[in-house]
C-alpha cells in the first residue's frame, strides 16, 4: 500500500442561488443556498484510481472542480502530497503544484478551443510550465504526445472540429499529459462517446496510467465503467458520500441501500434473466433536500431515525457506509 497523494478532508461547497437583490427585497425572501457538496472526505493513493459515482445533483462535478482549484471550498481542506491547496493556489508555490495535476473534461468539443490548431492546444501547458522550451522542442514534444495517444503528428495542423468525438478526447488527453503531471481528474471522460470509442479511451487511459504511474480521480455515473477503472470507489448522493470502499468489496457486498439500488439498476446486458429492479422515486432537488438521511424518501429500510438524523460514515467490513440501518445491523 502506498501513501495517499490526495487527501480530501470534510469538504463542503455551498452555492448562492438567490434571486437578485431587488427581487429578494420585493418578495421579502432571504438568500437561497444549495449545498452541492457536504462534508466529503476521502483519500487517493499514489498510482491508483479513485472513482466518484453519482447521478445528477450528487455533487461529483463540483468535487472535481474543487480539487483542481476551479472552485474554492466553503469548508474543509484539500491536501495534495502533504501541501494544503485551500489557500486557492496562489503565489510562487502555485505554479510548481499546478503542473503536477490536470483535468480531462466530459465534452471534448467544449474543452478544446475551436479557433486553435491542435498543436497550439496541446502546447498550451508547455508554454505555461516549460518557459525555457524553444518552439522546435515544443513542437517535437507535441508530435510525441500525439503519437502517444494514437494520433499522428500531422494531425497537429488541424482544428478540433475536423476530428471525431473519440479523437477529440485523445487530443484532450494529450494536452493533459503535456507537462507530465502525476495526477489527473477525469470528469466523465467517456460519457459523451460511443461504446466502442469509450472502450478505446478507457484502455488508453489505463495504458497511460501504467506507463507514467498516473493517479486518477475518475468521475462517472456509469457503474460498469467505474468497475473497469477504479481501485476505490466513493458513492455520492445529494452531495454526501453514501458509501466508500475498495472496488472489489463494494461490488461484491454493497452496504448502503443506495449502492444496492444503483447496482440493481444496471441493465442486464448478458441476458442472464435477472430483471432490473424497479426503483421507486427520483432524486429530490438539491434545493430542498429531505431532512435526515438524504436517501430516506426512496429507501425501503428508512425509519424515524433516518428521517431526522443525518448518518455519518461508519466502517462496515472493508468499506464505510453512511446508513443508520447498516450501523444498527438492520440490513
Amino acid at each position: 500500500m502506498s501513501e495517499p497523494l490526495l487527501d480530501v478532508r470534510h469538504l463542503s461547497r455551498r452555492f448562492d442561488v438567490s434571486p437578485p437583490w431587488l427581487n429578494r427585497k420585493l418578495e421579502r425572501t432571504g438568500k437561497v443556498y444549495v449545498n452541492a457538496v457536504k462534508d466529503v472526505s476521502f483519500s487517493v493513493k499514489r498510482g491508483e484510481t479513485f472513482a466518484l459515482v453519482g447521478e445528477s445533483g450528487s455533487g461529483k462535478t463540483t468535487i472535481a472542480r474543487l480539487i483542481v482549484g476551479l472552485l474554492e471550498p466553503t469548508e474543509g481542506e484539500i491536501v495534495f502530497d502533504g501541501q494544503s491547496l485551500s489557500r486557492g493556489l496562489q503565489g510562487r508555490e502555485a505554479r510548481r503544484l499546478r503542473r503536477r495535476f490536470q483535468m480531462i473534461f466530459q465534452d471534448p468539443l467544449a474543452s478544446l478551443n475551436p479557433r486553435w490548431r491542435v498543436t497550439d492546444i496541446i502546447a498550451e501547458p508547455l508554454r505555461a510550465f516549460e518557459r525555457g522550451m524553444n518552439d522546435r522542442a515544443r513542437r517535437l514534444r507535441v508530435g510525441e504526445l500525439l503519437t502517444l495517444v494514437g494520433l499522428s503528428p500531422e494531425d497537429g495542423v488541424k482544428f478540433p472540429h475536423q476530428f471525431s468525438g473519440g479523437q477529440r478526447q485523445r487530443i484532450a488527453i494529450a494536452r493533459a499529459l503535456a507537462a507530465k503531471p502525476e495526477f489527473i481528474v477525469c470528469d466523465e471522460p467517456t460519457s459523451a462517446l460511443d461504446v466502442s470509442v469509450q472502450a478505446q479511451i478507457l484502455n488508453l487511459m489505463k495504458d497511460l496510467q501504467d506507463e507514467f504511474g498516473l493517479t486518477y480521480v475518475f468521475i462517472s455515473h456509469n457503474l460498469q465503467v467505474v468497475r473497469h477503472m477504479a481501485n476505490e470507489i466513493g458513492v455520492l448522493y445529494l452531495g454526501r458520500l453514501a458509501e466508500v470502499g475498495e472496488s472489489e468489496a463494494l461490488f461484491e457486498h454493497p452496504r448502503h441501500p443506495y449502492t444496492r439500488m444503483l447496482l440493481d439498476a444496471v441493465p442486464d446486458i448478458d441476458m442472464t434473466g435477472r430483471r432490473r429492479k424497479k426503483v421507486e422515486g427520483e432524486i429530490p432537488s438539491p434545493l430542498r433536500p429531505p431532512p435526515g438521511c438524504p436517501f430516506n424518501p426512496r429507501c425501503p429500510f428508512a425509519n424515524d431515525r433516518c428521517r431526522i438524523e443525518v448518518p455519518g460514515l461508519t466502517p462496515v467490513g472493508l468499506q464505510a457506509a453512511a446508513c443508520h440501518a447498516v450501523e444498527e445491523g438492520r440490513i
Binding site: E55, S196, A199, Q224, R227, H228, M271
Partner: protein, 326 residues
C-alpha cells in the same frame, strides 16, 4: 405468418451538400411485426435516428428520401404529402424523443396538449378526451394524475416528464411508437422505470416499438429483435438474444465486447480500433473493412448486401455463404 405492421424496403436517405451528395442511410430493409419491439443500435452518425425520422416523415431539408419505400400495413407512407403525413403521425405512429421538452410545449398545460392530440385524431368529446388522458397519465405512473394533469411541463421532474411524453405518444392509440433515445437524458435509476413503463404500456395497447438507442443495455432489456447499424447500413439484424450472445457481423462482435460489464474488473476492454468513417469518406467494399479484424480481399472491393444467413437472421458480411453483392 401475420402481415408486417411496418415494412421498410431499400430505404436510402441523402443530403445534398456543396461537396457532393452524402448518403446518411443506404439500402436498408426491415419489417416490424404488430406488437413487436425492434431495437436499433449504432454509434452516433450511423443513421439510426435518420431511419426513424424517415419513417415519420420528419427528415430536415435538404435531406430527402432518395430511394426505397416505406409501407404502413398496406399504405405507402414515404411519398405522402405533409398534410396527410401529419394525420398519420400521432394517430398511427407515436413519437418519443430523447429530450421531453422537444415534445412538450412549455406554454401549455399537460391537459391541453393531451386533449388536443386525442381530439385531433379521435372523434370524442372534450370530457371523454380528458378522462382518457387522466387514465393514461395514471397508467404511466404519474401519481395523483387527475390533479397533476393541469400542471405545466416544467412542474414535472425529468423522469415524470418522459412519462408524460409516453402518454402523449400513446394517447391516440397508435400501432407503432418510434422512441429515439428515450432514456439517454435520464439518471440510471430512472431509466429502468421508464423502459418498463414504455414496454408495459405498448404491450397493453398493442403498439409495436422501434427503439432507437446507442445503449445496448436498454436493447437487451426491452427489444425482441435488434438491428445493428454501421455507416448508414444495416450490418446485422436478428433476435436480440442471438445477436447479443452470438453476434455474426464482426462489427457487432466488437460492439458487444466493448461494453464494460459488472462481472469483470480492471481488465483491458476489447475495442475496435479506429472510428466509423465520415459519410463523405465511406470506403469502397464493406464499409467496416478498414477496422475489421477478419478482413480479406473481397471485403475491400465488393460491398455485401444485408442477406439472410440463417432463418430470421440477416447480416452484411462476406464471411457467410449466401451473402450477395449489393
Amino acid at each position: 405468418m401475420t402481415e408486417p405492421l411496418l415494412s421498410v424496403r431499400n430505404l436510402a436517405v441523402e443530403f445534398p451538400t456543396r461537396h457532393g451528395i452524402l448518403t446518411a442511410v443506404q439500402d436498408i430493409s426491415f419489417d416490424i411485426m404488430p406488437g413487436e419491439v425492434l431495437g436499433m443500435v449504432g454509434e452516433s452518425g450511423a443513421g439510426k435516428s435518420m431511419t426513424g425520422a424517415a419513417i415519420i416523415g420528419l427528415i430536415e431539408p435538404p435531406g430527402r428520401i432518395a430511394r426505397g419505400e416505406i409501407w404502413l400495413r398496406d399504405q405507402r407512407i414515404d411519398n405522402l404529402p405533409p398534410e396527410k403525413m401529419r394525420k398519420i403521425r400521432g394517430r398511427h405512429i407515436g413519437m418519443i424523443f430523447q429530450d421531453p421538452l422537444t415534445s412538450l410545449n412549455p406554454l401549455y398545460r399537460i391537459s391541453d396538449q393531451l386533449i388536443e392530440t386525442i381530439r385531433t385524431h379521435l372523434p370524442v368529446s372534450r370530457d371523454e378526451a380528458r378522462k382518457r388522458a387522466v387514465k393514461l397519465l395514471d397508467d404511466v405512473g404519474i401519481p395523483d394524475a387527475s390533479r397533476r394533469i393541469d400542471d405545466y411541463p416544467h412542474q414535472f421532474s425529468g423522469g415524470m416528464r418522459q412519462r408524460v411524453v409516453i402518454a402523449l405518444a400513446l394517447c391516440a392509440g397508435p400501432e407503432l411508437v418510434i422512441a429515439d433515445e428515450p432514456t439517454t437524458a435520464l439518471d440510471v435509476s430512472v431509466q429502468a422505470q421508464i423502459i418498463e413503463v414504455m414496454k408495459e404500456l405498448c404491450a397493453e395497447h398493442g403498439a409495436a416499438i422501434m427503439l432507437v438507442t446507442h445503449d445496448m443495455g436498454v436493447i437487451a432489456e426491452a427489444a425482441d429483435r435488434v438491428a445493428v447499424m454501421y455507416a448508414g447500413r444495416l450490418a446485422e439484424i436478428g433476435p436480440v438474444r442471438d445477436v447479443i450472445k452470438d453476434a455474426r457481423h464482426p462489427y457487432s462482435q466488437g460492439l458487444m465486447g466493448a461494453i464494460p460489464r459488472l462481472g469483470e474488473s480492471l481488465e483491458r476492454l476489447v475495442h475496435i480500433p479506429g472510428s466509423m468513417p465520415r459519410l463523405n469518406a465511406v470506403p469502397p467494399g464493406c464499409p467496416f473493412n478498414p477496422r475489421c479484424p477478419k478482413v480479406f480481399d473481397k471485403c475491400r472491393t465488393h460491398r455485401p448486401a444485408t442477406s439472410e444467413i440463417e432463418p430470421g437472421r440477416r447480416a452484411a458480411c462476406w464471411l457467410y455463404p449466401g451473402v450477395t453483392e449489393a
